[in-house]
Amino acid sequence: MKALWSWLLELCDLPTMPTVEEGVRALTGGGLEIEGLTDLGGGFSGVVVAQVVAKRPHPDSTKLTLVDVITAKDGPATQVVCGAPNVPEPGRKVLWARPGATLPGGITLATKPVKGIDSPGMLCAEDELGLGDDHAGIVVLDADDPTALGAPAQRALGVDDWLLDVNVPANRGDCLGHEGLARELAALLGGRLVQHDVSADLVELASELRAADLVELAIDDAAACPRYVGRIVDGVTVGPSPRRFAQRLRAVGVRPISNLVDVTNYVLFELGQPLHAFDWHRLAAPPRIGVRRATAGERLTTLDGNDRALEPGDLVITDGSGPIALAGVMGGQATEVTAATSRILLESASFEARSIRRTARRLGLLSEASQRFERGVDPALADRAAARAAVLLARLGGGKIAVGLADHDRRPPARPPVPLRLARAQMLTGTALTTASCEDALARLGCTATADGDGRWLVSPPSARADLLREVDLIEDVLRVVGYGEVPATLPPLTAAPRPLTSTIADRARRALAAAGLTEAITFGFQAPARLEALGLPVDDRRAQPIAVRNPMSIDQAIMRTSLVPNLLAAIARNLSFGLPDVALFEVGSVFLRADGQPATGEPTALADEPTHAAIVLHGSRPRRFGAAEPWDAFDAKGFALALARALGAGDVAVAAAAAVPYLHPGVGAAITVGGVVVGHLGEVHPDVRARFGIDGPVYLAELDLGRFAEPGPVQMRPVPRFPASSRDVSLLLPEAVPAAEVEAVIAGAAEALLERVALAEEYRDAEKLGPDKKSQLWSITYRAPDRTLTDAEIERAHEGIVARLTAHLPAARR
């Protein structure tokens, strides 16, 4: 909401005149943030009001005029050369930029010859002052302009003023007019609101006509339209608005059109009540004004010339012949005010916020009126605003006001007073509020407070304050007036030990992976569909059935991620494009899968499963001192995965061959299991997949579903060995196809009590010596007993037992 400082001051009576800075501070402190403060007349200086006392043509030019001006009654005249075609007759006032004056664009005036005659400065047009775009001629003040000679031009132009850009909270529709802001300012600065009393004007300007004879109201839907006031102003003449009246509208962002239209906008900005002026003669005769829902198939051509199809939810104004306006949104073209208008039906009404909001949004017509109706307009404003506007119309348009008004008044009954308890206010705020401070604040806010026993009141807020419905609303407002600076800082007593409400696994995973030397990335929860498709998942994979965002900002954010992998691959590509060849990243975060039983496509009807995953990607080389690169390989991914699983307290972690994962290399992929259950995968990213992300060179990957890990209990100590261990080696000749895990499994299967540890010590291949598709592995097996030093005989017995088992269960030969 744009507000003028002068307009606000006009509407309140304050004990001392505040500076604009004080006003801004008070409003901001009260919750009406001033987002901008503009000095309207700040663009120029040294321009003064001067009176033309004589004029004559320039001897050497037909276009130039020599003008004598004075800046004090009976003062000396100065001759100024003027090129404008509209130099007025003597007696009228103009704006003279004297030598030394500065104008927008950094121009400083001096005395300069114009076609041979010195001109001390110049007479100014609007655009030269940075106001409006009128360059048709110099500014000529209205004949009755009261501004004193020699006064700054700003005063005459109505720009010795400040424009406040007020951020009005969503619940304070009452502040979308100067009156509402003035009520706040008065409350905060300890003054009172001033309302224009137009009763005398109504009498003075009354015509012979009676409103009741000229308009009939037939409104059935009291919920959609609780209040409708119609007034008739007759005999008006369309013309431009007075300069300062128009200037106010221009300052708050409304283009002045004509006196009749400008008045409705002026009152809207003054009181917050949207108004509409119909040309009475263009309405059905006699007009029978109704408010109803549109019926399917109805159309209306609105003021902007668009022929609009109406929908049954839209509220329309009718005149007995059909829709003439979209209620609260925009008037109809057929009944709008024109240059020929002489009699006006002025509409001042309140409409249901929800309908206005829906219609305005559907049609993209967010007008000053609709924005106010959406937030709710006080129904009590309607007749005040109608009277004020009628008076202004009659004054500015030279007309008369029909006696009386057409009033549809189906306002809900006045709200019952709201109880307020001092003790509750003190407790809730923790602030030293007193009976006196509460009563003072309520009075300033315009509330009527009746004592209701000790420390209790029954409070009736002003009708404009539709947001003051409950005790807590009153407490807030009392505190607002007292000042939030009065609230002390206290700490709540600790009444219960905090209970852990959430898993710590994700954060433990982050710490473990960072400790292992990886860098954490956080990527968007949504992603481009193409990134998911690049993984090549089969359609029946849950991850290939993402949940789509209905209204994404771009295709890159169109679906919720079902895997952390695509965004991390994209991050590798991005780092490569920055010239960083070595990338080791991890992410721990939610992925979004359709819940069980949900359809595979379309909008879900239930919330998603949001398991937390961890993913690691490696590309390029390990950190090294210098010299030859040491490329990452799949065993790095395995190492990180195992380190993570162990850090999460998983005991029985293994890596096992698994069914092919579509986005992993068919020969370089495996499953990660905990207690035999698959918790993730690792391996090399399929070359086709990484190519789709523009990555040249292998990427190694590990991903784990952290939801598969349980919150571990405290680690229990195992006895530290007290007796020595002994190792024995066995060298095996094995077919290529036997995985190392199988050898380990056979050894473990021996259930040898003395067995402590199995480690692969060496592996080599030599087609000539060993034969093709063969490998030689040297396994080192460690034996230990907890209660004694083992004898050679015991060790040999255990070892030979294991070797025998290996050769019996595997196609293995001892070498």
Partner: protein, 347 residues
């Protein structure tokens, strides 16, 4: 003067000491020296051979020869020790003569990096844990009811404009704030409640200071007798712990409107960088806007079945990116989410 056989034997023994010294002089390892020592002193060694002559000597002379033999043995042992010591000295000297250019690159120890937002989140949670707050979480894809309705923001409420929402279905949204965690927590746990809920949220907003995904931390305290002033105290503690250094930062409340709190406030902290004097960061105001807060609205309590006459509470919400930006001088919110190692590795 004639030498007696005894004297001859003694001088023979003494000579052996000299011979031994000569024998080990070229040796440079202990094992070879010990072998030579054994060769001189063993049963078949030179010393034993000389001592075999002892029986031929008069009884009275034998102690003298015995002394001489011991002298030789000691001399041989001493020669070995001396030689070993000399060798050790030489090795040590050689070792000390080594020079390594330690300005060459280090062998890298892999140092990982937690994301700045993770680090800041950990710190926030720790600070609130000091005041007894536990961490709570909720889903990112959330019902309209938890996100809006239960927070007193019905369908046509103008406040829905303030946070343009991503929809997944009519009644399912990407949460626009962490406040639905308040609702879920109050539904699941009777008061007293004291939680913080950090998490990712989504809004249709994308410019230099807005990202369509960002993270917030929400706080909620519900108990008997919770006051607006307690909110100020908790946030003052937080301000001083997170930004404060030497403390002394104030919290300023400005009235504001959020449908789910009443009174509702915008929270400002004294600018920690100029200590309130005014600087570029605070745009000369001396204050930094940090988030929204207020007392839990009775309508919210009603939605979750808590009696607002018995219990009161406060809630607050702050943007984690903004706090990290302020404290770490991060220039662009986009940097957080691009996986750019040049950014991530700085923290």
């Amino acid at each position: 003067m004639d030498t007696t056989p005894t004297d001859a034997l003694i001088s023979q023994l003494d000579r052996l000491a000299g011979e031994f010294a000569a024998a080990i002089a070229p040796l440079d390892d202990e094992q070879a020296m010990r072998a030579t020592q054994a060769q001189f002193l063993g049963k078949k060694g030179q010393v034993s051979a000389v001592m075999k002559e002892l029986g031929k000597l008069p009884l009275a002379d034998r102690p003298r020869v015995g002394e001489a033999a011991n002298r030789v043995k000691d001399a041989i042992a001493a020669a070995v020790d001396a030689r070993l010591a000399a060798l050790a000295d030489a090795r040590r000297a050689a070792d000390l003569a080594r020079k390594v250019d330690l300005t060459l690159p280090a062998r890298p120890v892999a140092t990982g990096h937690l994301h700045l937002l993770t680090q800041v989140r950990f710190e926030l949670v720790d600070i609130f844990a000091e005041l007894g707050f536990a961490v709570a979480e909720g889903p990112q894809i959330e019902t309209d009811w938890h996100t809006f309705e239960a927070l007193a923001i019905p369908k046509d409420h103008p406040a829905r404009d303030m946070q343009d929402t991503f929809y997944v279905a009519d009644e399912i949204v990407l949460r626009t704030h962490t406040s639905p965690v308040q609702i879920r927590t109050m539904q699941a746990h009777p008061p007293p409640i004291r939680i913080v809920a950090p998490g990712v949220v989504y809004r249709r907003d994308d410019d230099a200071t807005h990202s369509p995904m960002f993270s917030q931390i929400e706080g909620l305290v519900v108990d008997r007798g919770i006051r607006f002033s307690d909110l100020k105290g908790v946030l003052t503690h937080f301000a001083n712990r997170f930004f404060g250094g030497s403390g002394g930062l104030d919290v300023r409340f400005r009235p504001s409107y959020f449908p789910f709190v009443e009174p509702g406030v915008e929270v400002d902290f004294t600018c920690a960088f100029c200590r309130g004097k005014g600087c570029r960061l605070c745009k000369g105001t001396g204050w930094i806007e940090i988030g929204g807060a207020g007392m839990v609205d009775p309508d919210v309590f009603a939605a979750v079945g808590i009696d607002s006459e018995v219990y009161t509470g406060f809630a607050f919400g702050m943007g984690i990116e903004r706090m990290a930006m302020l404290r770490h001088n991060v220039s662009d919110i986009k940097l957080y989410y691009e996986g750019d190692l040049r950014f991530l590795r700085q923290f």
